[in-house]
């Protein structure tokens, strides 16, 4: 089954990290991504730029309206994602727990609706 791992964290904390902390975090993510790749379960994954770079579009009565910033103002923001293909939810949860973003932040595990 395919699962989307959605990584949430506080952008303010990301921005406040020192260079050394950032490098350590990058290293952890690289190792994590590689582990998924070597386990043969990784479908896709990306880091997202901060919500300040985002735009939200709505179409109402045929008119599109664009807003600066994220869809929802929340304490924790979506910062990246992985798409993985594993046999069941338990394995998806086990991989989510290994994600560096799961310590300190949260990883939402959502099954993909396969068409």
């Amino acid at each position: 089954m395919k699962y989307m791992l959605l990584i949430y964290g506080e952008e303010a904390i990301d921005a406040a990290r020192s260079k050394a902390e950032n490098e350590q975090r990058m290293g952890a993510y690289m190792a994590y991504t590689k582990a998924m790749h070597e386990a043969g379960i990784l479908v896709d994954g990306n880091r997202l730029k901060p919500t300040s770079a985002g735009s939200t579009v709505r179409v109402a009565s045929g008119k599109s309206k664009v807003l600066d910033g994220p869809y929802a103002d929340t304490k924790e923001q979506l910062g990246g994602y992985y798409m993985i293909d594993v046999p069941d939810l338990d394995q998806a949860i086990a991989w989510a727990a290994k994600c560096p973003g799961a310590s300190g932040g949260a990883v939402e595990v959502r099954p993909v609706w396969e068409m």
Partner: protein
């Protein structure tokens, strides 16, 4: 240790604005009521289910009785015979339920069976301790291995699916389903509530001990001690271990398991430095170990060895003993550790044991010898995603000077690690190459 119990049986609510002293008495009374209820919980589930083989109906019949007890006992005091009180209360609740659900067909026959059972008891009925039989049913070979520990936690200790799921990193809904399925299997498949025949006993007992140890291991895997649920789980598993020793006093492996858990628990706090960094066993300060707990473990292991039958848990506990001897001699007994791991490997064939043996060999004969021992198991496919294998490999490669290979192995270990402190530790080691 009322950890799990409170979660299932919602008892008396807040104390209101009483004076502080009274509140303190109230908290004490609440704790006493909980402790008494908790001691009775598994016994009553086991007592009822041993006859009907219906764990779910036994739990349902008792749930309201426990809520009533937790509301009533803190004020009125714990009754002289708490178990009889609870059984009588359960009978009353069940009679109410039967009246309300007269038309509900599905559960009617179970309810009747449990009701008959409850009607047969009075306040004079001695409640025999059937918990051991219940544990053997929960860890029966026909029950999926992964659900045995959760089932024991629920049936004996009253943990709910939410708490168990969270401790085992499984969604509460999935855990709830598995527990329901397993209980229905006990009933439908006719899994017996009895002690296994002597010929089956060693294997079946190992399944029970494994389940308790699995619960402990889940609790132990929260080194920072920040997740109360997980920490509780280790304490609950030790409680179950003590229960098993008391129920099977002549069984050396039960003592071995309890000793093993105590050795590990004694070192819980020393796995982290003051700033939260990971401290590997070899670098832990023995003065930070819980000496009383280690002494108890040593005594248990000695008693177990007099039983004349060794086994996996005694061997693993003996490995721990050879490690903690450092508190007296200044160094671990590596020769004993290698020999014990060899005995364990013959017994279990586990690749995890083989990794530990390789690391111990490196302590005596150097990293190249350790690596050779690791290479011997390197083609086991399970190791590809097993962090300790890569961490051990990385450490040994680093010591031989194979920097590039060590770097790659560290990267794999880092990518497979769940615990941020261990991840940081591995990253630091990698940078020091």
């Amino acid at each position: 240790m009322p950890g799990g119990f409170r979660r299932r049986c919602r008892g008396a609510s807040g104390l209101g604005d009483v004076a502080i002293a009274e509140a303190r008495d109230g908290v004490k009374a609440q704790a006493a009521a909980e402790a008494a209820a908790r001691r009775s919980y598994g016994k009553l589930v086991a007592f009822l289910a041993a006859r009907t083989r219906d764990v779910a109906a036994a739990e349902d019949a008792l749930a309201d009785a426990f809520a009533a007890a937790l509301a009533h006992w803190p004020e009125a005091g714990v009754p002289e015979k708490p178990e009889a009180w609870l059984l009588v209360a359960a009978r009353r609740k069940l009679a109410d339920a039967a009246r309300r659900h007269r038309t509900a067909i599905a559960s009617a026959s179970h309810l009747r069976l449990v009701a008959e059972e409850l009607n047969a008891v009075s306040e004079e009925t001695p409640v025999s301790d059937e918990r051991l039989r219940l544990m053997f049913a929960c860890a029966h070979p026909a029950i999926d291995e992964g659900v045995r520990a959760p089932l024991i936690l629920q049936a004996i200790l009253g943990f709910d699916a939410q708490a168990i799921g969270s401790a085992f990193l499984v969604s509460p809904a999935a855990m709830g389903q598995r527990l329901v399925r397993a209980k229905s299997r006990i009933k439908e498949a006719g899994i017996p509530f009895r002690l296994p025949e002597a010929s089956d006993l060693p294997e079946r007992l190992e399944a029970v001990l494994d389940a308790v140890y699995a619960a402990f291991a889940e609790g132990w895997s929260d080194p920072a001690g920040t997740e109360t649920r997980r920490r509780d789980l280790a304490e609950e598993a030790i409680w179950l271990g003590r229960l098993l020793v008391s129920l099977m006093p002549d069984e050396p492996e039960a003592r071995g398991l309890l000793a093993l858990m105590l050795y590990a628990e004694a070192r819980r706090a020393s796995r982290r430095s003051a700033d939260g960094g990971y401290v590997p066993l070899a670098q832990q300060d023995p003065r930070r170990w819980d000496q009383a707990m280690i002494d108890e473990a040593e005594a248990l292991l000695l008693e177990a060895s007099r039983g004349g039958r060794t086994g996996r848990f005694q061997l693993e506990a003996a490995v721990q003993s050879a490690h903690v001897i450092r508190r007296k001699s200044g160094s671990a007994d590596w020769a004993a550790i290698v020999a014990l791991y060899e005995a364990l490997q013959d017994l279990t064939g586990s690749p995890v044991v083989a990794i530990n043996r390789a690391v111990a060999i490196a302590e005596i004969d150097g990293p190249t010898a350790g690596l050779a021992a690791l290479d011997a198991i390197g083609d086991d496919a399970r190791l590809a995603t097993y962090q300790p294998y890569w961490a051990a490999r990385a450490g040994l490669l680093g010591r031989t000077g194979a920097i590039a290979e060590a770097d790659a192995a560290y990267e794999r270990a880092i990518g497979l690690e769940t615990d941020p402190a261990v991840r940081r530790f591995l990253q630091e080691r990698r940078e020091m190459l």
